[in-house]
């Protein structure tokens, strides 16, 4: 039971700029052990004048508040128009069935609440309960679109007034869920409240053009127009690969020519292009491993062919289909046998799973297979083509399971088998782990959303459960004399861990670091000089 001031659904329509809840550090879920967690800072005064912080004092949207009744009315009308389209079998064919099931059959037993790391991490703030935003949406929909809601009103719960504030708070609420879908996993009816969060995001994006700029303008739009969400074009990629080759030589003494646009290769490897910028050692490690294992592989220099991300997976079906179509077409034109997705969780899910039914038959999975890198990496280890010395990785280690790869694709075992073979110490499993893992807190775009003060909310609230899990896993070895490694085979998870480690001071206090899986593998390669992972790195 929550100890916070009760929030009702009617409050969502409350006028004024006062937030529905004000977060305090001391009311959040307690963490084991001491951290350097700072106090939560209120929004800057200059922001408050212009932007809306009326949900919880946080926002990623630097969109000016409506200042006239006409502007507010436009917001409401756009929302209602989008809501109608969400339930239209043509306009929303990809998800309308799941949407209707989740809207119509939730019995509000709140079984999902205990599964949500945001709700738990916040200290059980009502507005973050998985059912809260769904219930607001349901009540608005009933009130405006169903005969029972129009007729029976509050008797059936159709009692939420739709005004500019309701619309705005629903937008914010849609971006307080990581869409990790742990709630759907435990629901006795199979209701997917995370999907409803995504449907709200989609309504705003597809009907009103409103989405976090990191996801739309700097995300999918930029990727489709330039080639990558990082802004890297083809020329930039070629420079980057030259740098990669230098990095490999510097770290290993090996000269490797990274294959580019090699027609008919067995494998087209597609990374999250953010890796080249933020963790260049990760794509370098892939190159080292693939070359050492004798894999006939290539990268692509075509626009979108070198960036496997697909932010559409988080908020927009049209953008999702556009990006997936181009990525798979590039592979098809290159004549490769299959696409393999590097360490990027949502790229896995978007390319290997969701895209399956938004692409025409020629690009179906049997026509152009799309696989995770993890089974291939495990095959490399099993093949014996590379010799590993686990003693090179002799430090306490844990493994974060990226939701998109594990809970949403069922790829659980290969990464564990690899760690067993390339690390000296037994894997310290997080509790819970595998398909029951908790999200890192950066899922569904949060890792890259840093406009206004949104990232403060993410670090304090949605990252919190992961920080607790990591501290619990290393509870007996917290002494900073012992470096510790959190393996996260996903770019967004790594970005989130990087920020969380800094925010909570986990590097300074406990020498907890993070990195990818391939980094560990290369670090353990016998015929390399070692030191691929720098346990004393100061650049975290």
């Amino acid at each position: 039971m929550s100890s916070h001031k009760p929030v009702s659904f009617a409050d969502v329509a409350r006028r004024g700029d006062d937030p529905l809840v004000t977060l305090k550090r001391e009311a959040l879920m307690p963490l084991p052990g001491a951290t350097d967690e700072p106090d939560l800072q209120p929004p800057q005064a200059r922001w408050l004048e212009k932007y809306d912080f009326s949900l919880d004092g946080h926002s990623d949207f630097d969109i000016p508040k409506p200042t006239t009744p006409e502007e507010e009315q436009r917001l409401v009308k756009g929302f209602l128009s989008g809501l109608q389209k969400l339930f239209d079998p043509q306009s929303n064919w990809p998800f309308v069935k799941l949407l209707k099931l989740s809207m119509d059959y939730c019995v509000r037993c709140q079984t999902c609440s205990e599964a949500c790391h945001v709700f738990q991490g916040s200290g059980r703030q009502e507005i973050y309960r998985p059912t809260f935003r769904s219930e607001v949406l349901r009540r608005v929909y009933q009130r405006y679109f169903t005969p029972s809601g129009k007729l029976l009103k509050s008797w059936v719960g159709a009692d939420v007034e739709l005004n500019g504030k309701t619309v705005w708070r629903l937008l914010e609420l849609a971006y307080r869920c990581n869409i990790c879908r742990r709630c759907a996993q435990v629901c006795p009816v199979g209701i997917d409240n995370a999907l409803l969060a995504r449907e709200i995001r989609k309504l705003f994006s597809q009907e009103m053009g409103i989405a976090p700029k990191e996801l739309l303008q700097k995300g999918t739009r930029q990727q489709l127009q330039v080639g990558s969400t990082t802004g890297m074009n083809r020329a930039g990629l070629k420079d980057t690969l030259e740098f990669q080759e230098e990095l490999i030589e510097e770290k290993t003494g090996k000269k490797i020519k990274i294959p580019l646009d090699k027609k008919g290769a067995d494998v087209l490897l597609i990374h999250n292009a953010g890796e080249f910028m933020s963790w260049p050692e990760n794509p370098a490690a892939f190159a080292i491993l693939f070359e050492a294992a004798g894999i006939n592989w290539t990268l692509s220099s075509e626009m979108l062919g070198y960036d496997g991300v697909n932010y559409g997976a988080w908020f927009d079906d049209v953008e999702l289909a556009r990006i997936a179509l181009r990525q798979v077409t590039i592979a098809k034109q290159l004549g490769v046998k299959k696409m393999v997705v590097g360490e990027c969780g949502h790229a896995h899910k978007a390319l290997c799973v969701i895209a399956d039914r938004v692409l025409p038959g020629d690009l179906s999975l049997p026509e152009m297979p799309r696989e995770s890198c993890l089974p291939l990496l495990w095959q490399i280890v099993q093949s014996g083509a590379i010799k590993f010395d686990p003693a090179r990785n002799n430090f306490p280690i844990t493994l974060h399971d990226p939701c998109n790869v594990v809970r949403l694709m069922g790829i659980v075992a290969p990464q564990r088998e690899i760690i067993k073979r390339v690390c000296a110490q037994p894997l310290r499993e997080l509790a819970p782990h595998g398909v029951h893992n908790y999200c890192c807190g950066g899922g569904s775009g949060f890792a890259i959303m840093d406009t206004l003060n949104f990232s403060q909310w993410r670090k304090a609230v949605s990252d919190r459960m992961k920080v607790k899990q990591v501290l619990d896993a290393f509870a007996d070895v917290l002494d900073p004399a012992t470096p510790k490694y959190v393996t996260a085979p996903c770019s967004n998870c790594k970005g989130t861990l990087r920020d969380a480690i800094n925010y909570y001071g986990l590097w300074e206090k406990y020498r907890i670091m993070y990195g990818g899986l391939v980094d560990l593998m290369v670090n353990a390669m016998v015929d390399l000089p070692g030191g691929f992972i720098d346990l004393n790195r100061e650049d975290l």
Partner: protein, 299 residues
């Protein structure tokens, strides 16, 4: 006589409406477009060696070229287990709803079992069947009434649950409790359920028989509930087939030219009539996907 006549007709009407409206809603759901893949693991029809930890066929290399022999049986067993034990509520609900919800659900299952026994009692005679009918009928009404009333109290007294409980939700629970309690009251005047059996027999044979008031009230409430239920979310038991089997566990990828592929191809021809600047007006989903050359000012 007119009332008895009505009771026979109403029994059939309730059954017909229950089946008809339920079927209509099932067909409406089934005819909605094929959704994109959106599965959540563990998926019960995965290979046995992977199922227990939530693993999938995507853990293998070259899975798209490897034939799969997935049996639907484990998935149906999982749904049946959920329906009969509510294990997700037991394992994850933090509000102590499981025993009450389980009692209410088993009250309903047993009530239908009791009806079947009453039907059987009109065909076969024997002491064992008679005792079983009494035991099942009483258990159904006690569990059902206890569970429904308990859930009402639970929802009304928990601040967290109360927020999400509408007057209609209370009404639904009250309705359930009412016909279970009416069953108990009717049993007090008909401890062998002989009059209940006679009523069921009269409905089946279309032969009018006198129905005592308490028995008539009990069956009337139940039949009204049968008519009412398919219009509400109380029929979430069939929704589970769609949410679990057709969504959360739907891990089947399409092959070129397959029935699924043809369905998707047809759906890609639907109009994506969204109004955002980055979506071109009047285009189909496939055209949208193929085009980024948006009209001036719509980028």
């Amino acid at each position: 006589m007119i009332f008895d006549d009505f009771m026979v007709g109403f029994g059939w009407l309730a059954a017909a409406l229950f089946v008809g409206v339920s079927a209509y809603r099932i067909v409406r759901l089934a005819r909605l477009p094929l959704n994109v893949r959106w599965e959540v693991y563990p998926v019960p029809h995965e290979a046995k060696e992977k199922r227990h930890y939530g693993g999938s066929y995507m853990e293998e290399v070259d899975w798209a070229a490897t034939p799969r022999a997935a049996s639907p049986l484990p998935a149906y067993l999982e749904i049946a287990t959920e329906v009969t034990t509510l294990k997700r509520v037991r394992d994850h609900n933090g509000y102590g709803m499981w025993p009450l919800s389980l009692a209410m659900h088993w009250g309903l299952y047993l009530y239908f079992g009791w009806l079947a026994l009453l039907v059987a009692g009109n065909v076969v005679h024997g002491a064992a069947l008679a005792y079983l009918t009494i035991a099942v009928g009483l258990a159904a009404c006690i569990l059902g009434a206890g569970g429904s009333l308990g859930l009402m109290v639970k929802r009304a007294t928990s601040q967290d649950l109360r927020l999400y409980t509408t007057p209609l939700d209370y009404f639904n629970l009250l309705f359930l409790a009412a016909f279970f309690l009416a069953g108990l009251v009717s049993w007090l005047g008909d401890t062998s359920f002989a009059a209940h059996k006679a009523y069921v027999g009269s409905v089946l044979s279309f032969r009018l028989a006198h129905v005592p008031a308490a028995v008539a009230t009990s069956f009337l409430l139940f039949e009204l509930f049968m008519i009412y239920m398919p219009f509400t979310k109380l029929i979430h038991y069939f929704a589970k087939y769609f949410t679990f089997d057709r969504a959360l566990w739907d891990d089947d990828f399409k092959a070129k030219g397959s029935a699924k592929d043809r369905k998707v191809a047809a759906q890609l021809g639907y109009k994506a009539s969204w109004a955002s600047p980055h979506i071109a007006p009047g285009q189909t989903w496939l055209q949208q996907a193929q085009s980024t050359a948006l009209p001036e000012g719509r980028k």
